[in-house]
């Protein structure tokens, strides 16, 4: 199949899937249903695009195809920061913050913390990749546990509310935040696409990149910042989804047929959105269930990760 057809075909597919999600069976209260579906759809598109691009960027930065920002604990860090903010401002003070201000504050904290943590890790640990991944996974557990700990300390009776953030769900997309999330995601993706050529050089490795005249550390930091922003948006929208990015990019690479970032980013976004919308349609309409889609993705993605990890290493 000609490579040039991939993008248009995917785009058409997404359009069709979107229509299939939005339109059928609207019934009497069609305005209400449509706006509800539109919100969910918006959430899926934003989250899908954000996670796809974040994963592509992160895999370039870590020079590893089985890593994603979530595996390294980005999303757990985000939840920890949320909980910490609640702890420092008090539950009432925190609830009193306007949604946007709260979101931006969390975002700033996440970008700062992840630059510090993961920048150091990536700088130091690139020789022993497995140890770095292991560290990331443990950090994820640490952050999740710390969130749980803080939540208990905050209000032992109400911790269940914060606990519910652990399970991802598309039904809790916040309509008021959606435009801002979409805007931030769009900006970040545009920035990533503008950097695409430089990212191609970055992917060659530190020594070749520097010798070709790339400002290696700057580009790396920018890519990490973008990753952090995108992960924060996605996690704030629907909660943690550790393996979506892994599946999506693993599928997108052979479809794109190239490692150049511009086409790869585009294909990944389309594949991600298509997967989410189709999957959600399937579960909501065809199987008429309340959407365990994220759980299914997590499970399947976890298995994919497991086998990618062992592939070629097991004899």
């Amino acid at each position: 199949m000609a490579r040039r057809l991939v993008l248009p075909l995917l785009a058409l597919g997404l359009l069709a899937a979107t229509a299939a999600y939005l339109l059928p069976g609207l019934g009497q209260k069609w305005q209400f249903v449509l706006s509800l579906r539109a919100t969910r759809l918006g959430g899926m598109l934003v989250v899908g695009a954000a996670i796809a691009v974040a994963t592509v960027l992160f895999q370039t930065v870590s020079r590893n195809r089985i890593l994603t920002p979530q595996i390294m604990g980005f999303d757990a860090l985000f939840i920890l920061l949320q909980t910490a903010l609640v702890a420092s401002l008090g539950p009432v003070g925190f609830a009193g913050l306007p949604d946007l201000a709260k979101f931006l504050a969390e975002l700033a904290l996440l970008v700062g913390a992840s630059l510090l943590l993961f920048g150091t890790l990536l700088g130091r640990g690139t020789e022993d990749v497995a140890r770095m991944i292991l560290t990331g996974v443990i950090l994820g557990i640490l952050f999740r546990s710390a969130s749980g700990f803080l939540a208990r300390v905050l209000d032992p009776n109400e911790f269940a509310v914060v606990q519910s953030q652990v399970v991802a769900s598309f039904s809790r997309v916040n309509a008021s935040l959606l435009p801002w999330a979409a805007g931030l995601t769009g900006l970040a993706i545009l920035a990533a696409l503008r950097m695409a050529r430089q990212l191609d050089v970055l992917a060659l490795g530190r020594a070749p990149a520097v010798s070709l005249g790339l400002r290696h550390d700057l580009v790396l930091s920018l890519a990490l910042i973008l990753t952090a922003v995108l992960v924060a948006v996605a996690t704030a929208m629907v909660g943690p989804m550790a393996f979506l990015g892994l599946i999506v990019v693993a599928l997108a690479r052979p479809l794109a047929g190239t490692d150049r970032h511009a086409p790869l980013i585009a294909v990944s976004i389309l594949v991600s959105c298509l997967l989410l919308v189709l999957g959600q349609t399937l579960f909501e309409r065809v199987l008429a269930r309340q959407s365990p889609l994220p759980a299914v993705i997590e499970f399947a993605g976890g298995l994919v990760f497991f086998f990618l990890l062992l592939k070629g290493r097991v004899r």
Partner: protein, 317 residues
């Protein structure tokens, strides 16, 4: 030699603190109504302290056994899916045969844990020993996948509260006399491992050397799996999943006194009891009179210790 003595003293001190710590003020109760204080002590404080010590010791020992079986020092039953497989078994039997006697439920849980671990062993069998980080990493991912299954089943069958709070997060607040006695069996299983310490140590030398010394590696491995599964199932069903004790305590012990298990296993057991007791006391004190589950405390303390173990420079070149 003196390490176990020092640890024993620390443990005794912690035990005293543990007996004195709790939501009710024992001293006050003692002053007012002797029989009430006695009730609190015998029905709640003492069983809880004993339960914590038994669990800590048993988990630390099963950690060592797992490390010898996998010939890798960064693993334990809590990080290779044993706990999660056992949880699946427990969920299955609770859903399918809720009226079954307790021993049946325990047996099914232990068997499920054993099956999950054996499957993992099979999957990682071909990994060359020099890829040290790969096995624990695969284990964490595997347990994550299984854990997602557990959470999902809980969500689907409306047992999510049960699963998340009771199974996945270990805590000792529900321990009273009559509810924890199964842990003595876990302690007995760990004691069994103590008797077979030399065999496990030889197993850790490698299959070639172990066979050459006249051991049957497969048989020792099976014994180890049984010990690990029984301990995990009993602990999980009684108090939930208690992570990282089996990983960090054996590593620290090994760093100090090496892997001659005949000598180091008792020390590891004492160390596990002490660590868990310390974390449990911390959990009781930090937001007194409320409690933070020990599983959550360990999620923070244990992971930080794990990271330290992972990144510290080895003592020797």
């Amino acid at each position: 030699m003196r390490l176990w003595l020092a640890l024993g003293l620390v443990l005794a001190a912690l035990a005293v603190v543990s007996l004195a710590t709790g939501a009710a003020d024992l001293g006050v109760a003692l002053g007012r109504d002797g029989s009430k204080a006695a009730l609190i002590f015998w029905a709640s404080r003492l069983p809880r302290t004993l339960a914590v010590m038994l669990t800590g010791a048993a988990l630390a020992v099963s950690g060592v056994v797992m490390q010898q079986i996998l010939r890798n020092r960064f693993v334990e039953p809590g990080t290779v899916g044993t706990g999660e497989s056992a949880a699946l078994g427990l969920l299955a039997v609770t859903l399918i045969a809720p009226a079954a006697p307790i021993w049946v439920k325990m047996a099914v849980t232990a068997l499920a844990g054993l099956a999950g671990t054996a499957l993992f062993l099979r999957l990682v069998r071909g990994i060359p020993p020099r890829e040290v980080m790969l096995v624990p990493l695969a284990g964490l991912v595997w347990s994550g996948v299984l854990g997602a299954m557990v959470l999902h089943i809980g969500w689907q069958t409306d047992l999510l509260q049960l699963v998340q709070v009771w199974l996945m997060t270990g805590e000792f607040s529900g321990v009273i006399a009559g509810r924890y006695e199964l842990l003595w069996i876990a302690g007995a299983a760990a004691a069994l491992a103590l008797f077979a310490a030399d065999r496990f140590a030889i197993l850790g030398l490698g299959e070639g050397l172990a066979t050459g010394l006249g051991l049957k590696p497969a048989a020792v491995m099976r014994l180890g799996l049984v010990v690990v599964s029984v301990v995990t199932a009993l602990v999980m069903a009684t108090v939930g999943m208690v992570p990282f004790v089996g990983l960090v305590v054996p590593n620290i012990t090994s760093r100090i006194m090496g892997d001659n298990l005949r000598r180091s296993l008792p020390v590891t057991a004492l160390g596990g009891a002490a660590l868990l007791l310390a974390c449990d006391i911390a959990g009781r004190l930090v937001i007194h009179p409320y409690e933070v589950p020990v599983g959550t405390v360990l999620g923070v303390v244990g992971t930080m210790l794990f990271l330290w173990l992972l990144w510290r420079n080895p003592r020797h070149g």
